[in-house]
Symmetry: C2
Subunit: 324 residues, 2 copies
Amino acid sequence: MPQPPERVAVLGLGLIGGSVVQAIRAGSGEAWGYDPDPATVDAARAAGIETSATVAAAVADADLVVLAMPLPQVADTLSSIAPALDGRAVVTDVGTLKQPVRELVARYAPRLRFVGGHPLAGTEDSGFAAADPLLLRDAPWVLTLDPGTDLGAWLDVAAVVCRLGARPVPVTSADQDATVARVIGLPHMLAEALALTGLAGGPLGLSLAAGSYRSTSRVARTRPELVATWCDANPALVGALDDVIERLQATRTALATGGSVLELARAGHAARMDWEHRRMTAVDVEASVDALLAHGRDGGWITAVEPGLPGLRGMRPADRRDSA
Amino acid sequence: MPQPPERVAVLGLGLIGGSVVQAIRAGSGEAWGYDPDPATVDAARAAGIETSATVAAAVADADLVVLAMPLPQVADTLSSIAPALDGRAVVTDVGTLKQPVRELVARYAPRLRFVGGHPLAGTEDSGFAAADPLLLRDAPWVLTLDPGTDLGAWLDVAAVVCRLGARPVPVTSADQDATVARVIGLPHMLAEALALTGLAGGPLGLSLAAGSYRSTSRVARTRPELVATWCDANPALVGALDDVIERLQATRTALATGGSVLELARAGHAARMDWEHRRMTAVDVEASVDALLAHGRDGGWITAVEPGLPGLRGMRPADRRDSA
């Protein structure tokens, strides 16, 4: 296995890009950034981060390029960096949805050694001012393995992600987007619907809304345009919404006919507590596409990709046999 | 106006009762407790709280009695304390719904000087171990004013609540339950539905669920039986669920036909930010039932009930004229 990337260019220094560049530097890696916004560049420099004046200068000496700009800017960036990189550096991104980026790469930079990435570490704040090198610690970080993905490039990016203390999850772009519809799209839709409906009964609601309104609607604080970019391009969200509407409708019918919300409350409570309390166990994972995808699909992640190891190290959900 | 109550008996030393008795004592008031569970009594005594061996002993010298036991125990308690109190002490409760308690009082203790109460200060934890004298600081605290409520008794309870640093909200039982359906019932139903549906796509969801799943499903950690007691007896929750289902269905239809979630996201974001940033202004409030109910309905609360003041002091939402 080759040495993992040592020189990382981060294009876009918002919440995620700013956190990535700081986390790599905090781990004594070499990383620098680029951002088109002068105020962001000033803030990054004030925080001790080296910045490049142009995208071309930023990627010139990199062996890993992280695309951390908003999705609408990705196509232009791919077109401009593809010729210069010429199969030399690995490129990854940090966007919420992986199918749309995969399609852009196929169209604008088909020969790029590209690995789709998605660190699940947002907050409702944004911009470099909110960046934090610890934001990514222990965060799940999707790295996509699709037909055509270069396994060597995937292992390179996974090695960098592991060194940041985050958790690479190997998964296809389609599976990641379907899951993101449920664990990101749905929470945002329900939070927005609650934020609005919870207070639609008049000013008294403004006084009485307290802890449960506050936490259940928290992510409605996110910029609406950002929420729309995560949701509008994800066809899997339609089915996820159907699923949640059906459960709410069944509970509504039970309530209206003298029944109870207890069935929903018990099932929801059990799901949440199982999630909090699941136990993981350390395993070796073969460095093959099939073995990695099976590991991710079963709820596992990677913890170490080191030259010299026979394969990779990872964690997977413990079953009864493990705890016996 | 008479002196407010000075001697408070708290029946039930769980999260809310335990917090109330501690908060009164922390403010150098006189308060003691009763609980049927020996382990709870031991914990309360270890925390320096005086306890009575029986309900009758607890209420004997009190001028305010706080019912802080679960709703199924309220009827028996009302029956047993009503003869002894004989119009002498004021009785209040801390339950989530106010119509069911009002009906119990009408049935079992119609001559009691009763004021329904609901401090909006729960957490997903419960029991005396989770009690905290600061839990109630700045919390909205519904105090009901219904036909037949003794205004003097209402002012007595409001004075105690103000001294705890909480915010009495004057409101009818029907209005409180309708609003609670939206700001407590709905958040719990949506959190339960998300906790379940978010993870219904397979084990990969267990890895990728992160911040937005965590906060939006937080209150699904509450005991399901407790959630059911807040929801099952509240007919207003049916309409609130219809309202939220309709909004989700409209968004689902938009998504499925190439549209955007942006309309919902903008409206939800605006509602949440308006709630966070609303400005309040200090006002005098006349000590009459009509003036108090109008004040509560408009989003106001009471800040001071002191003998000698011409009326009460309160806060109400500032309008443009106030900020001009």
